[in-house]
Symmetry: C2
């Protein structure tokens, strides 16, 4: 398995996928064409426009980017893809679409059998066991919260530290994740913007500048450093 | 119908329900006992402890507060309640519990036929047509997102204005609500902490210090002032 699972597509003050440029250059060394999944996008831009954005973001790395929405036989196009990129947006919408099109398990199998996978934000969220640690608003009702399960834990993308000066009474991210774990026996990695997981065969490694926050069942939350290997089930 | 639908139970620098004290004193004038629904609480404290907290919060207004979890026949206890208070926590959990216990429509009917209703946070969220404008994390999978529908629009509690200085790339609350409306033809009121809706027969009025932000289909988002009547379907 070969994957880049990123907290965000874009970091402050930089262009789309720009902070990942060096990594993507290596990741796509032998790849000509990427299949892009635009289904997380809840309006604003069309699937065509979103695919064009992905194409521009990857123009220095691959020859072409094609949108999954263009194919009638989506199963076949996933199975024959050289590489797959699932973009961000709304995780509820993405998961609803993948289930409705019956391609959740097809996608998982393709990645498990070696098709390189790039995910950002919602596209990273779905790499976990379920989507229940998303930050998104439930704008649609998916038939299930189960996701790809290509990682043995869950991701919380766009992880945010509590703001000690805040007067807001909504729950902090850490509180939310602990509440998730009160009801679900699943470990979670809070990925701050600018960091990503690099998966190479069985090895999962934290990359990028920020540390990540690990919520491991039965332990106090702790930090891991960039380049550390993650051994978490 | 008689209801107080509050953004939050607590505002910064003040105790539980304290900012609502004057309003609750009037609201519970002829009420001795309140039935409290603690089911939104995702751990941390037990249903008993949460009910005790509600009891302390209402001690200057009513003689007793009893928890719905204590009753075997929950339908009967809702139908015979003098007044109902649904506390905050996690909206997914609350909605799952209400559906699982088959009391969502029982609760709606009681409120529609005049049982005074107090809701805070998750307890306010469920007054709308569905729970799809919650800010909460989907820590459980409810059998449906439908809620009480005692208001003809949705609520976004703990409404937060975009922070112009933020470097974070997660969506703002306004963006999320607009994405909800791209897929759902439902108006939404963003209730800032410290404000509430007061429902008296057919009249819905904004109360408290902050303005509220209205997301009306087909219009730019706009503000309404405290004491204004809300005419929104």
């Amino acid at each position: 398995m070969k994957a880049i699972i990123a907290s965000t597509s874009t970091v402050h003050g930089s262009g789309y996928l720009e902070y990942l440029s060096e990594t993507l250059s290596e990741f796509y060394k032998n790849i000509d064409e990427v299949l892009f999944v635009p289904f997380a996008r809840p309006g604003g831009i069309s699937h065509d426009e979103y695919t064009l954005k992905a194409k521009k973001g990857l123009q220095n790395h691959v020859k072409s980017v094609i949108g999954l929405h263009e194919f009638k036989d989506k199963v076949e196009s996933i199975q024959s893809a050289e590489a797959i990129f699932v973009g961000g947006g709304n995780t509820f919408l993405l998961v609803q679409q993948l289930h409705q099109l019956n391609i959740m398990s097809v996608l998982a199998k393709a990645v498990q059998s070696g098709t390189p996978y790039l995910g950002t934000s919602a596209g990273s969220n779905i790499c976990g066991l379920n989507m229940q640690t998303t930050n998104d608003m439930p704008i649609v009702y998916p038939p299930s919260f189960e996701t790809l399960g290509i990682l043995p834990f869950n991701i919380n993308p766009h992880y945010l530290d509590p703001n000690p000066d805040s007067k807001h009474k909504g729950e902090t991210r850490e509180t939310r994740l602990k509440e998730f774990q009160n009801l679900n026996n699943i470990n979670v990695i809070g990925l701050r913007e600018g960091s990503w997981l690099q998966v190479n065969d069985g090895v999962i490694r934290l990359k990028g500048k920020p540390k990540a926050r690990v919520f491991e069942i039965g332990h106090e939350a702790y930090e891991i450093n960039s380049d550390e290997i993650i051994n978490l089930n």
